[in-house]
Subunit: 319 residues, 2 copies
């Protein structure tokens, strides 16, 4: 059993853990820089931990691909796997802490006008006080209650919001920080009572354009929107209109329909739009990498032992 690790940003302790676990699993492991540079003897691996997209598309021998991302939309196209039985696991569960901190940070930056103060500071200007908003007494709606939405809800609860409502397919969630969790069919009833809408959804056919122009119109005046899932979930043009008109008080987008964002995108000039370049949950936070590697190693032992793997993606659902 041969494993190629392509994941970037690993520290010595991560490599050691992978090596030890591989030995336990009776597998040989190597670390490669890219899919074009597999070391000798590892040209046709059984397992890849990393973005082995091209190998998955061409190798009939690949039995398991573990990607270090939570979203796997880029592997859902027909023909993505030469071996139709290839197992796909993702790393959902590693990003909650990092992305939850991002959501809290950008929300408070918007509510407290901190981007404006920062812009003024760059000009050596001592700004004047501005009207601020608060998470206290805020009605928060979280669209998508997985690891990310739950980690966020847990942190947000400490800020004494009026309510935290989760929305998902089942209408249930084990995270106690949610005051209530409702089914996705309730979305349009909840939006008019939402001061802060947090979106942490995978990209699937069901989530495509889920925040449509009409639904943006259902949010109350002065609402805030944060999207950390996938850019396809929002009608970007409608959002830009709502922001430019001032009806929506602010939005923070970390994900976009096209990434990197085009130089001539109107979003760069949209009022009260906080843009970050898809950095809420990459592997630049120690904890994120730790969890990512732990999750792969856990499932490597499960795989070797013929046990049920924990992070398998349901390719029909797309997450």
């Amino acid at each position: 059993m041969k494993i190629v690790v392509l994941t970037k940003g690993l520290k010595p302790k991560h490599r050691e853990l992978i090596e030890k676990t591989s030995e336990k699993a009776g597998a040989e492991v190597c670390f490669a820089e890219s899919e074009n540079a597999f070391p000798s003897g590892f040209e046709d691996p059984d397992i890849i931990y990393g973005f082995g997209i091209e190998t998955a598309r061409t190798s009939k021998n690949l039995k398991w691909l573990c990607v270090p991302s939570a979203g796997v939309d880029y592997l859902m196209k027909p023909g993505s796997f030469a071996n139709e039985d290839c197992i796909l696991t993702n790393s959902a569960g590693a990003y909650g802490v990092s992305i939850a901190e991002h959501i809290i940070a950008v929300t408070l930056m918007m509510m407290r006008c901190l981007t404006e103060f920062h812009s003024e500071t760059l000009q050596k200007t001592w700004g004047q006080p501005r009207a601020q908003k608060s998470l206290k007494d805020c009605r928060i709606t979280v669209l998508g209650t997985g690891d990310i939405g739950s980690c966020f809800a847990k942190r947000a609860a400490a800020f004494e919001p009026e309510s935290i409502t989760g929305i998902n397919r089942s209408g249930t969630c084990s995270e106690p920080a949610f005051d209530k969790v409702v089914k996705i069919g309730e979305l349009e009833n909840i939006l008019p009572h939402t001061d802060l809408l947090v979106m942490s959804l995978p990209s699937t056919s069901e989530t495509e354009n889920i925040l449509s122009r009409r639904r943006i119109g259902l949010l109350p005046e002065g609402a805030y929107i944060v999207n950390v899932g996938r850019g396809t979930a929002i009608d970007e043009d409608a959002l830009a209109d709502a922001l430019d008109s001032g009806r929506i008080a602010g939005a923070a987008l970390d994900v976009f329909r096209t990434e990197p964002l085009h130089f001539d995108s109107r979003l760069w000039n949209t009022k009260n739009l906080l843009i970050t370049p898809h950095v809420a949950g990459n592997l630049t936070l120690d904890h994120t990498t730790d969890r990512n590697v732990e999750m792969f190693c856990e499932d490597l032992l499960n795989y070797a032992g013929g046990l049920k793997m924990k992070h398998v993606v349901d390719r029909k659902r797309g997450y």
Copy 2:
């Protein structure tokens, strides 16, 4: 009994509450724009709610001054009160929610490099990932465990830090979010084990320069500092040196020895220094003004009824 209200930013609901409470207290009340424009009949009031600094200095009739700030250092000079028996109350307790949100926001902005991403966005530049830090597993030290420090600790605890240590004069605090609270004499033992130092101290002779050059040197490499108390607590030049050298990873200052910050201050150009213009806790957040007015009205009834007032400043301690 005549009351003049000078406090800015009151909404109709706040004025109504003050009027109703004054009636209950058997007092006449008026609202004035400044100390130079007291309405006829209110030229020499018994009570001022607002920054009645000049009146306090000159009026022997003023019996109670309630200032809408938490800090009262500007009233501690000899000669500040013509009537030596004038009661001074402050509004400590109104700012905790607002300032705690500020501390969380600027801490995460620094740890997650959000000011750098924002600067790039202003240039329409799609930035590259940067190494991030996290509140998770962070060793937090809170210097000053009053309303502000406690509100912060409560919120910070939800981010799964390694520890939250409070430091104050007594070594005790009722807020359960602190893992431990130690006396100020322990400061130098705690600093070497601090990843994030939050300072929320009043300006007194004891807190002057409490974070000296030597003590900044006791913090571990890569530590962060947030100051929301008073600028006098920090050796600003030593902090700038530590930031420019890269030994301290970042600092967020909302208060300074001189405000507004001089145009030619070196702090404007100091590396990894996030400057905000003393806006963490002003009355621009609805909740802050609500609490501020409630606290004055509460003590107005106490004063009128001859009961113990809740927010009296000990002029010897200075807070």
